[in-house]
Amino acid sequence: MERDQLKSILESLLFASEGPVTIHRLDEVLEGVERSEISSVIQELQAEYDASGRGFRLAEVAGGYQMQTARENADWVKKLYRDRPQRMSRATLETLAIVAYKQPITRAEIEAIRGVDVDGVVATLLDRRLIRIVARKDVPGRPFLYGTTPEFLQLFNLKDLSHLPTLKEMEEMTLPEQEGGAPSAPPEETPPESSEQ
């Protein structure tokens, strides 16, 4: 098969699919074509889209490839969609981050980090299919262990979990932010908050 023809076919396959397509799946469809060649043509397509200023890109998401609209056009695409925002609260986002980095993790372990009850937030995340029950922990009570889903990777445009932004080390965070030491005012100089009657 000619490389140009392969490129055209791959473009059609990627255009026609609703979710991310894996190399494995493309390989199944394109019988007899080397995987390495598929990968290299995909990279060529990615580079072409990026360079040509088209309104779409080819992103690597959740272990596969998927066409996406260009980020700079987001406001226009949003106008096409009805403006009915489905918001994610800070609590939801933080809980999701804890599950993402610490998975598999139990609800009690999430609560230990957040310092609050997370029943409602976990239910919301399960409902939105951003997390799922992956197993039960081998401790008394056999609590559920939670992990993230492919939908989570898609929502945040992540290739896989190893591409999560690096979590800062605790030691890094204790370093003063400015050079010359952290401002540490003696307690008595901190103006007390006016309290309510």
């Binding site: 996406q68 969609y81 925002p85 489905q86 981050a97 957040r114 609050v116 401002p183 540490s184 901190t190």
Partner: protein, 256 residues
Amino acid sequence: MTTRVELDIFEGPLDLLLHLIKKSEVSITDIPIAAITEQYLATLELMETLSLDVAGEFLVMAATLIHIKSRMLLPPDESDVEEDEEGDPRGELVRRLLEYQRFKEAAGELERRDILKRDVFVRSPEAPEETETVGFESVSLFDLISALRAVLDRLPKDSAHQIVLETFSVREKMSQLLEDLHRRGKIVFQDLFQGAASRLEVVVTFLAMLELVKIRAVKIWQEEPAGPIVIAASAPLEEAHQKMAGEPIEEDIDGT
């Protein structure tokens, strides 16, 4: 009679502590426990005044803070060393705050990514009308409470002794706020309270605003960190009124 507002934007005692530490510009690893405890308790008191649901965890943390404060006053006890390595009664709390802050930052990193249906879109089997876009709340409850405190502090002190019988209903205030927002576009937080003559009116206005956030009729954000808090309508007026009608809103507060 009290109005009890439960917020979906639920945040816990660790959030509040980090907020106070940041505001006081002190280091997490060297918290001035006495000052922070005082501010923590003052915020809890204000939350009670607003009848915000103060969950048990906040009270547990208050007890922890007071306990640490008392231990700080005692000379270091040799037998205590096992409890936390450095013998600093704040050790365990500091560790929890740092751990929690890591995940808060991680959540921030995630939020800055290209988010599906916010920054990038894919072909979907559904018609565009059916699809929802994703947004993130960007102002914390504690930011709002701090801003409210600033408004309350600026009220003339004697207004608490007015002998005018006034009744404000949260529902009425909600309607009024909606009308204002639709007429003026976006409004800066402080300006919501322009013309409010008493603490009661300020508090009712604040509660009305929270209810509107809760039913997703308005959105609140900050255009830059520590910048002014801005409020705007997020649904057509008619839709917002429908949502309001369908929402059980607690009874009026009487000005007494």
